[in-house]
């Protein structure tokens, strides 16, 4: 017999109606990406998202980080993320910051078959889990963004 899913707050319960913005910045290192997921979880809770959608958001934020960094490691550069919540939605923006005097960073391109596969899968994941997303590489800076609107239970 299957047990019921753990009870959690219903979507909208405990929502911080005023909204807000949280910024996070950390060196581009794979072992630090979990900080983005943790922050996303906290923000989603403040925004009144339900447990299932929080799980989706964690994965989507991870994929957004991969979009911006290309999955590489460069401790001189930093990944800066902003999480905005309000109007029953969360908007996440990410971009790479280089040290002053550093040249432009080329757009990340997959170098191995695994990276190419992962990039394609990442796109599918974002398409499925968020309401809007996009990325651009302008003047040597890669930026990515996404919008997730809170779902209501039927």
């Amino acid at each position: 017999m299957s047990s019921p899913a753990p009870a959690g707050p219903a979507p909208g319960e405990g929502e911080d109606e005023a909204g807000g913005t949280v910024e996070l910045s950390f060196p581009v290192r794979p072992d630090l990406v979990f900080l983005a997921r943790m922050t996303g979880t906290a923000v989603a809770s403040r925004a009144g998202f339900g447990i299932d959608q929080v799980e989706d958001l964690r994965l989507a934020i991870d994929e957004l980080c991969l979009t911006v960094t290309g999955g590489g490691e460069d401790g001189r550069r930093r990944l800066r993320l902003s999480f905005e919540w309000g109007d029953h939605a969360i908007r996440v923006h990410g971009r790479l910051e280089a040290p002053a005097g550093d040249g432009a960073t080329p757009a990340a391109t997959p170098e191995t078959e695994i990276e190419a596969t992962s990039t394609e899968l990442s796109e599918r994941i974002l398409d499925a889990l968020v309401d809007e997303h996009g990325s651009e590489h302008v003047d040597g800076v890669t930026r990515a963004w996404m919008v997730v609107r809170r779902r209501h239970r039927p």
């Binding site: 794979p30 990406v33 997921r37 994965l59 991870d62 991969l66 999955g71 990276e115 899968l121």
Partner: protein
């Protein structure tokens, strides 16, 4: 680091089939360890491998890419990579990426080994 501490990989074998039990979070930081282990199994002559993801709480596209690459290598040699997935959120990730139609996915390790 939390991520590394949360990742576990336990090699095993059932009825002659290598079974890799993975737990925790498989992401950009930890997926290379899974990739290295699966490559090692292939190099040691394994044709069919079971990866038990029952205890995995999180996978991202990097982890999925590693599994796809291992599956292609094993199938090219006449074998396969069989997965054990029970957690609904994990199953959803395979579904939204279309990989549930690509991988052989089973509810238990015993089912995967005997398939």
């Amino acid at each position: 680091m939390t991520t590394e501490a949360d990742f576990t990989l336990t090699p095993g074998e059932e009825r002659g089939v290598p079974v890799v039990t993975v737990g925790g979070e498989v992401d950009l930081a930890t997926a290379p360890r899974l990739a290295e282990h699966l490559e090692g199994l292939g190099e040691s002559g394994a044709t069919t491998v079971v990866v038990d993801l029952t205890e995995v709480r999180f996978v991202d596209s990097t982890a999925l890419g590693v599994l796809v690459a291992a599956m292609k290598r094993l199938r090219a040699g006449g074998g396969d990579l069989r997965l054990v997935v029970t957690e609904p959120h994990l199953a959803k990730v395979f579904s939204i990426t279309g990989l549930d139609d690509v991988f052989a996915i089973y509810p238990t390790t015993a089912d995967a080994v005997s398939a």
